[in-house]
């Protein structure tokens, strides 16, 4: 570590490489463990949003679908803010 790096770190201008390493590992392991590459995940995200959007009006920009890992368990976590629900008749048409 050079003096400049050290000063940067002291001033909080640069996050430590250990925490960068941990974040990168957590992300890559979530993908490794679920066997989903980022492209497939993006496709799944689109399709989930499509399905959910049939039932409720969601904020697509704010929506987030991601993989989270804890204790070797990987979960698919979807956080989709709902603007309002779309009322449906049993036949599937919108009221």
């Amino acid at each position: 570590m050079t003096v400049k790096d050290f000063i940067d770190k002291l001033l909080g201008r640069q996050i430590s490489s250990a925490s960068t390493a941990k974040q990168r590992l957590q992300l890559v392991l979530a993908h490794d463990r679920s066997d989903l590459n980022p492209e497939l995940l993006a496709q799944m995200r689109r399709e989930i949003l499509e399905v959910v959007a049939r039932y409720v009006e969601i904020d697509v920009e704010e929506g987030d679908v991601s993989l989270e890992t804890e204790d070797r368990m990987t979960a698919l976590v979807a956080n989709l803010p709902i603007r309002r629900s779309i009322q449906q008749t049993p036949e599937g048409g919108t009221l």
């Binding site: 570590m1 770190k9 002291l10 430590s16 490489s17 250990a18 925490s19 390493a21 941990k22 990168r24 590992l25 957590q26 890559v28 392991l29 490794d32 463990r33 204790d71 070797r72």
Partner: protein, 270 residues
């Protein structure tokens, strides 16, 4: 039912210290009085003989034992200074494709008749070599270093061990550099155990004496050397035996003026 502990020593990534760990643990367990055999399952690129200083004494391998061209006793290479330890190479580098999971189970069950510990030195990778080596394992020690590539590969191996029902799977964190950890330029012990979610069997600090000992073909645990790695391996052997030995604390291992100044600056500022 045999009470032998058959332990796979594996890592996924190469060069993280599997073979060094196997050699040192083998000697350490033997010195504690346990009848121990180390089985080199990495016969394509075998090196366990070299680290143990036994490279000139190999005549037969597990293959000849299974083919019944020799008896098991003839193939086992006893360590001169530590007669409780024997080495069995799975094969020699010329025979590339002979070992199958069935062969592995057959040879291990022969070994389990006369040893307390069977340590299997696994090849790097997660392909056939790994699968063969793991076929007879009851428990496993995953060796990794606090580096992203090593941790990622360890994770793959742990996944495979879990599906095979190998248990317990414990972690040895190798080549720990306390100084780099203290300035957060190396993944911490907690980072690695959080990510891999395995119980920690031991920490081994980076130690130049490991290189010296491999040059000589005399594992560190053979001597009375007080080197950090020798202590760590002896502690791991005692923990395997069920003793409750506290883990080393990397923050206490730090010494030197600069590290202490850094520590002081960090505590004041943050």
């Amino acid at each position: 039912m045999s009470t032998t502990r058959t332990i796979l020593i594996c890592s996924g990534k190469g060069g993280v210290g599997k073979t060094t760990t196997t050699a040192n643990l083998g000697i350490a367990l033997a010195r504690l009085g346990a009848r121990t055999v180390v089985l080199d399952a990495d016969f394509g690129l075998r090196n366990l003989d070299l680290l143990l200083g036994l490279e000139n004494r190999i005549v037969f391998t597990a293959q000849e034992v299974l083919a019944e061209t020799c008896r098991l006793e003839q193939a086992l290479v006893k360590h001169k200074q530590e007669p409780n330890l024997a080495l069995l190479p799975a094969g020699n580098p010329r025979m590339l494709e002979w070992l199958t999971p069935k062969d592995m189970k057959a040879i291990v069950s022969l070994l389990e008749e006369q040893f307390d510990y069977v340590l299997i030195d696994c090849p790097a990778g997660i392909e056939d070599g790994f699968k063969n080596a793991a076929a007879a394992a009851r428990e496993a020690v995953v060796v990794t270093t606090p580096e992203v590539a090593a941790v990622r590969d360890a994770d793959r191996v742990i996944g495979l061990l879990n599906t095979q029902g190998v248990t317990p799977v414990q972690l040895v964190l190798n080549r720990v550099r306390p100084k780099m950890m203290s300035i957060q330029e190396m993944l911490s012990v907690d980072d690695v155990t959080d990510i891999l979610a395995l119980p920690l069997l031991g920490l081994v600090f980076e130690d130049e004496q490991v290189i010296v000992s491999t040059n000589r073909g005399e594992p560190l645990t053979l001597g009375e050397s007080g080197s950090p790695a020798a202590k760590a391996y002896n502690n791991i052997a005692r923990r395997l035996q069920g003793e409750d030995i506290p883990l080393m604390d990397p923050s206490e291992a730090r010494n030197g003026f600069r590290a202490r100044v850094r520590q002081l600056m960090q505590t004041r500022l943050f």
